[in-house]
């Protein structure tokens, strides 16, 4: 599956190794998805470049108006981090549902995004938090999460050449609440039938100044429901409004039938799931002071 395994201690060293192998090396975070892929496709890479020893990539810190999560931070770390819990609680909730504890102790958040599973719980929460991937390599760039998927199971990040060194999340301002929820066949180690993340910002008068509604399991990547967000924008935040908006949600998604659930069932489940996310976000936001 791999011939060489490198554990560079800096981002620079990692990039040098990638360049040296000219496309035959691969960045590896926890390896929980990557190694399975290599195994099942019977592929061999010349070199695995592990981010596990790059100290700076393991940090979770505040930088000005941003929460910066290092590309090598594992899901368990993100789940438990006090800054994440304070500023982006839906992300902590999403990470807590990734697989099982042993997987969370190895899998990185960045890796989870790059694997590009259509309903990756963390990707759904990150999309709802306006997260941006900081990518270093031949073409350094920042891309918002919503653009991280290039297609079904395809990432916009080319892990043979570049790496996600950090995920940056703008700190929410004002009265903010967020929530992540999922429906799955069992309480651990199960891909979701449907998952969603929502975030709301209220001004002092209780009007919605910003909203995010993101759903996974209804498309090849997490879907932002812009129409629903428009319905919420500028309105006075009330439970009735939220219920109305959620009730309209099935018309704005186009899921397929899959073995885990039919398209019709997913549409049927969506309002309830979104209600949970939006009502919880609303509750959290109203409790906060301006």
């Amino acid at each position: 599956m791999w011939n060489e395994f490198e554990s560079p201690q800096s981002v620079q060293d990692a990039l040098v190794i990638l360049e040296k192998h000219g496309g035959n090396a691969r960045v590896m975070g926890g390896g929980t998805d990557l190694l399975m892929q290599l195994k099942s496709k019977r592929q061999t890479v010349e070199c695995l470049v592990s981010t596990g020893k790059i100290a700076s990539m393991k940090e979770i810190r505040l930088e000005g108006e941003k929460l910066v999560i290092g590309g090598a931070a594992c899901a368990m770390q993100v789940q438990k981090d006090p800054l994440v819990r304070q500023y982006v609680p839906m992300l902590a909730q999403a990470c807590a549902k990734l697989g099982a504890p042993q997987i969370r102790n190895a899998a990185t958040l960045a890796g989870n995004v790059v694997t590009a599973k259509p309903a990756a719980d963390s990707a759904v929460a990150l999309t709802a938090s306006d997260a941006v991937l900081e990518i270093l390599g031949p073409t350094p760039r920042s891309i918002p999460l919503i653009d991280a998927y290039a297609g079904l199971m395809q990432s916009a990040v080319d892990s043979t050449k570049e790496m996600v060194v950090a995920i940056e999340i703008p700190l929410p301002t004002g009265r903010y609440g967020s929530h992540f929820a999922r429906i799955a066949s069992r309480r651990a180690a199960a891909l979701p039938i449907l998952n969603a993340a929502a975030a709301l910002c209220l001004d002092d008068d209780g009007n919605i100044t910003k909203s995010r509604v993101v759903v996974g399991g209804v498309g090849p990547s997490p879907q932002r429901l812009y129409t629903l967000e428009d319905m919420l924008q500028g309105q006075r935040g009330t439970i009735d409004l939220i219920e109305q908006v959620c009730g309209a949600s099935p018309d704005h998604v186009h899921p397929r039938d899959s073995i885990r659930s039919s398209a019709a069932a997913r549409k049927g489940l969506l309002p309830g799931l979104l209600k949970k996310c939006l009502l919880s976000s609303f509750e959290m936001a109203t409790k906060k002071e301006g």
């Binding site: 429906i183 066949s185 069992r186 309480r187 891909l191 659930s261 069932a265 489940l269």
Partner: protein, 763 residues
């Protein structure tokens, strides 16, 4: 007061298992060992037109390639059923190690033995096969059609494995016409997978005319017989061993497991080296025996006072590509369906039917869970129609000791009434029944009851030997597959003989040096082996006391064995000293325990479940299961509880989440622990095991068994609870969110129709 009976003796293998020392087949390393991989069919049904292994054989490191061309052409049945089957039935002899036909996706085509797993895997990819795909059957009802393709057309002219099991009592047609209320329905059961933690594996070494096989088989003697048959070898030159531990079984390997034993034996013979095969988890999921899925049609009728009067059942089980346990499971289904309640008029016909999917075989319960799901659905439906409480209706109709029933053995003990009452009381039946309300979350309680059998007309044979140090060795051909019954047998031995339990060593899981035993399955081991042990221990004790009496010049009647010493005479004798004296001067001390007649006894169980149904998502959350079991006497209550609890969780999986999905090409979707939804630690509800004792006069110290019983009525109880919660009786499991949502939506129509009058059978 017994010293060792009804005691929570700690398992004798627990220390080994918690320290990591315990050895399983996966851990066996034999010097010079090669590694095997198997080439499997991508087609559900095909003829092999061309098979070219030359490139594979030429790969450096490859020592043997086995195909149908260089392996024995001897039909067999890969389960121990070949070696033991109830009278009158014939085993399906329909498997070759490799054949020119492939009959399910994953069927074995060839195998390679090489110096490493990687080389073996690469060699497999170099084998060139030309298939001629044939039409494939996936549903057993299709396989019964007149023009259906024959899956074993070379040996028979229909698609039924072994035959049809029939039961007749009284006159069903007449009885049905005499009923005051009736109910009929078809239930549909899914494919459930054992998913035991240790995948199938085997190591074989053929040397000096002897074949030695290490395997996690549940039946070392059964496996030995199958190998002797296939290779035309004298059975005495074959040794089959558990190493000694088995990483779970649940019926998946009563005999071969995934044919591993046969494959490695071929490769060892071909290569001249020992060979090891370990199935991947994907292989274990997709090619090894499953639980029988299928359809069960039930008709149950009663008189106005609630007495059951007529029972009719047809069972169409999907046995997959090979018969394995097929006829036995169909028979067990019928036998169990007709032996819980008194019914004068009975009709049953059931068969296991070939299709081109992964074979179904033995899985804990063995047709009984399927039977009970159908029967209890009908019982609850009649309770509703008669307006009699479901608990009362069961108590009224349950079988009592020596009641007439269609089975060949009598009911010799039952405390099912106590089980039902305790299960109902402890779930809070009267407080919780009929209180679902109209909200989004609805709660309900339900009950299911059933029986089983501890072995079926089986015999047991053990030998006991007093060692020169005074310890007692018990030799049994049985296996320890995880239930802990070996410890219970130690308890029985120590109690029967009168020694300290630390002085008892049970030697098991090895055909060499143990008498023939059919193995650990059928809920038989404590009952049958326990009986044989207490018989042998009694005889051995007699030998010892006679010898001691002679040595001390006193009467044997005055003597007894306590704590490893002979007491009651002019002096006390240490057993070790006695053994050594005897060995030098007079006699050896050993005894056989051989059953004088085949005996079957019946354990009983009732499960009560409380569920909460989220009518918005279709999620069925099991809140609590009370599992009350009549085990005769619990030799080791903690072990009995462990069996009940483990069974209940598998039963919850069967009821709510577990099913193997097979697509139109015959490919199995669920090939891993993340795609097969068995319960994880986070999914377990409250489980309350209740041991009820009825004292079985023909069991060792009154014991019967419990192994399979833990999941027999669970699905029925849960479906009943879901009906109490939602008003909808589901006739198909598992109750996945999808299925429940669909059913609840459909029921909006039927519920309305019911309000308008008329009899509606919920479909």
């Amino acid at each position: 007061m017994k010293r060792y009976i009804s005691k929570n003796q700690k398992r004798s293998d627990a220390l080994s298992k918690v320290t990591g020392e315990a050895t399983y087949t996966h851990d066996i390393v034999v010097p010079g060992m090669l590694f095997a991989k198997v080439l499997r069919s991508p087609h559900a049904h095909a003829r092999i037109r061309k098979l070219d292994v030359s490139k594979a054989a030429a790969l450096p490191g490859v020592k043997a390639v086995a195909t149908w061309e260089n392996t024995p052409r001897k039909l067999f049945n890969s389960t121990g059923m070949m070696a033991f089957l109830y009278p009158g039935a014939k085993p399906a002899m329909d498997e070759y190690i490799f054949d020119q036909m492939v009959r399910h996706v994953g069927d074995e085509v060839a195998a390679v033995a090489a110096t490493s797993e990687e080389i073996a895997a690469e060699a497999i990819r170099l084998i060139e096969v030309e298939y001629e795909p044939l039409p494939a059957l996936l549903d057993p009802l299709d396989a019964l059609e007149e023009d259906a393709i024959l899956i074993h057309g070379d040996i028979q002219d229909n698609n039924i494995a072994s035959g049809t099991h029939t039961i007749r009592q009284g006159d069903f047609e007449k009885g049905w016409a005499e009923c005051d209320v009736t109910y009929e329905a078809r239930v549909k059961l899914p494919i459930q997978k054992q998913a035991q933690l240790e995948t199938h594996a085997a190591v074989a070494e053929y040397r000096n005319g002897e074949l030695t096989v290490w395997s996690p088989t549940q039946s070392v003697h059964g496996t030995k017989y199958i190998l002797a048959h296939i290779f035309d070898m004298s059975a005495g030159n074959i040794r089959v061993m558990n190493p000694p531990y088995v990483g779970g079984a649940f019926g998946v390997r009563v005999g071969f497991g995934g044919k591993a034993e046969g494959i490695v034996s071929c490769l060892s013979m071909l290569s001249g080296y020992p060979v090891k095969l370990v199935l991947t988890r994907e292989e274990d999921f997709t090619v090894s025996d499953t639980r029988h899925s299928g359809y069960v049609d039930i008709k149950l009728g009663a008189k106005a006072d609630g007495r059951f009067h007529a029972f009719g059942m047809n069972a169409y089980l999907n046995t997959g590509a090979y018969g394995t346990h097929g006829i036995e499971v169909a028979a067990c289904l019928g036998n169990m369906a007709t032996s819980t309640y008194r019914v004068p008029n009975i009709f049953f016909e059931g068969a296991s039917i070939y299709t081109n999917i992964v074979p179904a075989g033995a899985f804990r319960g063995f047709g009984n869970p399927q039977a009970v799901f159908a029967v209890e659905t009908a019982v609850d439906a009649l309770a509703k129609k008669l307006d009699i409480d479901p608990v009362e209706l069961r108590l009224k109709n349950r079988i009592r000791v020596n009641d007439e029933w269609p089975l060949s053995y009598p009911c010799s003990s039952t405390a099912l009434d106590e089980c039902i009452k305790q299960a109902a009381a402890k779930i809070g039946w009267s407080e919780k029944r009929g209180r679902a309300g109209q909200g989004r979350f609805r709660r309900g309680v339900g009950l299911g009851a059933g029986t089983h059998f501890c072995g079926y007309d089986e015999l047991a044979h053990v030998s006991l030997e007093l060692e020169t140090d005074g310890s007692l060795s018990v030799f049994t051909g049985n296996s320890e597959i995880g239930t802990g019954h070996i410890t219970s047998l130690q308890q029985i031995t120590a109690e029967s003989f009168g020694c300290e339990i630390e002085q008892v060593n049970i030697k098991y899981g090895d055909t060499r040096g143990t008498p023939y035993d059919v193995g650990c399955h059928s809920t038989r081991s404590v009952f049958a082996i326990g009986n044989a042990i207490s018989m042998a221990a009694g005889e051995l004790k007699e030998q010892v006391l006679q010898y001691a009496a002679g040595a001390m010049g006193c009467s044997a009647e005055a003597l007894s064995i306590e704590s490893g010493r002979v007491r009651g005479g002019p002096e006390e004798m240490d057993l070790g000293q006695l053994a050594r004296d005897g060995h030098i001067h007079k006699t050896h001390f050993s005894a056989e325990g051989k059953s004088k007649e085949a005996v079957t006894v019946t354990p009983w169980e009732a499960h009560a479940a409380e569920v909460e149904v989220d009518t918005l998502t279709g999620m069925v959350k099991v809140l609590k299961v009370v599992a009350a079991h009549d085990v005769g006497v619990a030799i080791n209550p903690q072990l009995v509880e462990g069996q009940i609890e483990g069974g209940v969780v598998i039963g919850i999986g069967y009821a709510t989440r577990e099913e193997m999905s097979i697509n139109e090409k015959g490919e199995v979707y669920n090939s891993s622990y993340h795609t097969y939804m068995l319960p994880t630690f986070a999914d377990t509800p409250e489980i309350e095991p209740v041991i009820v004792e009825s004292y079985e006069p023909r069991g060792p110290y009154g014991a019967k068994g419990v192994g399979e019983c833990g999941l027999v009525p669970t699905a029925a109880a849960i479906a009943a609870a879901v009906e109490d919660a939602t008003g909808v009786r589901f006739l198909e499991i598992p109750l996945t969110p999808q299925r429940v949502l669909d059913g609840l939506q459909a029921a909006c129509v039927t519920c309305q129709a019911e309000k308008e009058g008329g009899t509606i059978d919920v479909e």
